[in-house]
């Protein structure tokens, strides 16, 4: 999976925001927590949910099941707005 090309990840003032181009059906702005920012950064390259969880384990000091749950939640939210190409 990968971030859809009609969504631009932008870091402003240390905060990650996801902004759709004029082509995307979704017209809002996504501002997220650190988990979402890290997931979005990883989605710039082709990856899988498992690979994202593995990468996040090295960054965040939390049990794997918590990280897996948060990653799934972030991906579900991104899928809903069409921001992820499977």
């Amino acid at each position: 999976m990968k971030l859809n090309k009609d969504f631009i990840l932008h870091v402003s003032g240390g905060e990650a925001v996801l902004v759709p181009t004029g082509n995307a059906k979704f017209s809002g702005i996504v501002r997220g927590n650190k988990t979402l920012g890290a997931v979005l950064e990883l989605l710039k390259e082709e990856t899988t949910e498992e690979q994202i969880v593995t990468a996040m384990k090295t960054r965040f000091d939390a049990p794997e099941e918590i990280i897996a749950r948060d990653v799934k939640k972030a991906l579900d939210g991104l899928r809903k707005i069409g921001a992820v190409d499977e």
């Binding site: 090309k5 631009i8 932008h10 402003s12 003032g13 902004v19 181009t21 004029g22 501002r31």
Partner: protein, 246 residues
């Protein structure tokens, strides 16, 4: 009908189908042998605008409005200009801009909030000192010296604009309220609204450039939030607070 126009200090050749473009842009027409880029429209561009407008009406639960090809072509031309302008460090921004003593104050809010009503109050309050730059869709260029805001021919239903450029010093997010109150905003507080109100290009590279231009804009102006009613006091409260901060 091909003509060259100087819009936001950029020479643009426009080759329209309908003469309405020539009429609305006539004050911006220049004689030149060169230009930065060319805009050509086709019937499919007009069909795209008709379809987009209908979708927006449906999404808002309104009856679908019918527009002439000539009007829809004006939208298509400005969309094409807005798609290109990030290359020239320039973005289209939805808002009503008034200049007072040569300084630009830009009010932004969702459609129907009362941007135009508020800048009309500024003209009532300040008389000839207040000049409308553009009532709806000005262009903003980011320079090393700060933001410059330009009048454009796309100036809203009351057609209030002037072919002028002024330094933009203030961006104010406007909301309706019973009492008039104003407070400064941080960049983080204002940022979502700035991103909602700037034109978002369809091209991902132009969109990425737009985001960097919005960052520069947010860093170079004073940001405010105004809760206002439609009394002249709203303009007094806003002007005095903002002017005092410059």
């Amino acid at each position: 009908m091909d003509q060259i126009y100087k819009i936001a200090d950029t020479l643009i050749r426009i080759s329209p189908i309908n003469p309405k473009i020539v009429t609305i842009c006539k004050e911006y027409c220049v004689v030149s042998t060169h230009y930065a880029f060319e805009i050509k429209t086709s019937p499919s561009d007009i069909a795209f605008e008709r379809c987009k407008s209908a979708r927006e009406d449906e999404a808002e639960g309104h009856p679908v409005r019918q527009f002439s090809d000539a009007y829809l072509e004006t939208l298509a031309v400005y969309r094409k200009i807005a798609e290109k302008m990030p290359e020239y460090d320039t973005v289209l921004f939805h808002g009503s801009c008034v200049a007072v003593d040569g300084v630009g104050y830009l009010f932004t809010a969702k459609s129907g909030t009362g941007k135009s009503t508020h800048t009309r109050l500024w003209r009532q309050l300040l008389g000839e000192r207040a000049v409308m730059v553009n009532d709806d869709k000005p262009l903003i260029r980011m320079t090393d010296g700060g933001a410059i805001i330009y009048g454009t021919p796309w100036d809203g239903k009351h057609h209030l604009s002037a072919n002028i450029a002024v330094p933009l010093k203030v961006v104010c997010i406007l909301t309706r309220a019973n009492e008039n109150t104003i407070r400064p905003l941080t960049v983080s507080e204002a940022y979502p609204m700035l991103l909602q109100q700037v034109y978002r290009p369809m091209d991902p590279a132009a969109m990425a450039k737009t985001l960097s231009l919005v960052d520069r804009l947010a860093a170079s102006v004073r940001l405010w939030k105004l809760g206002c009613n439609m009394e002249i006091e709203a303009a007094q409260v806003a002007y005095e607070a903002m002017k005092g901060s410059l």
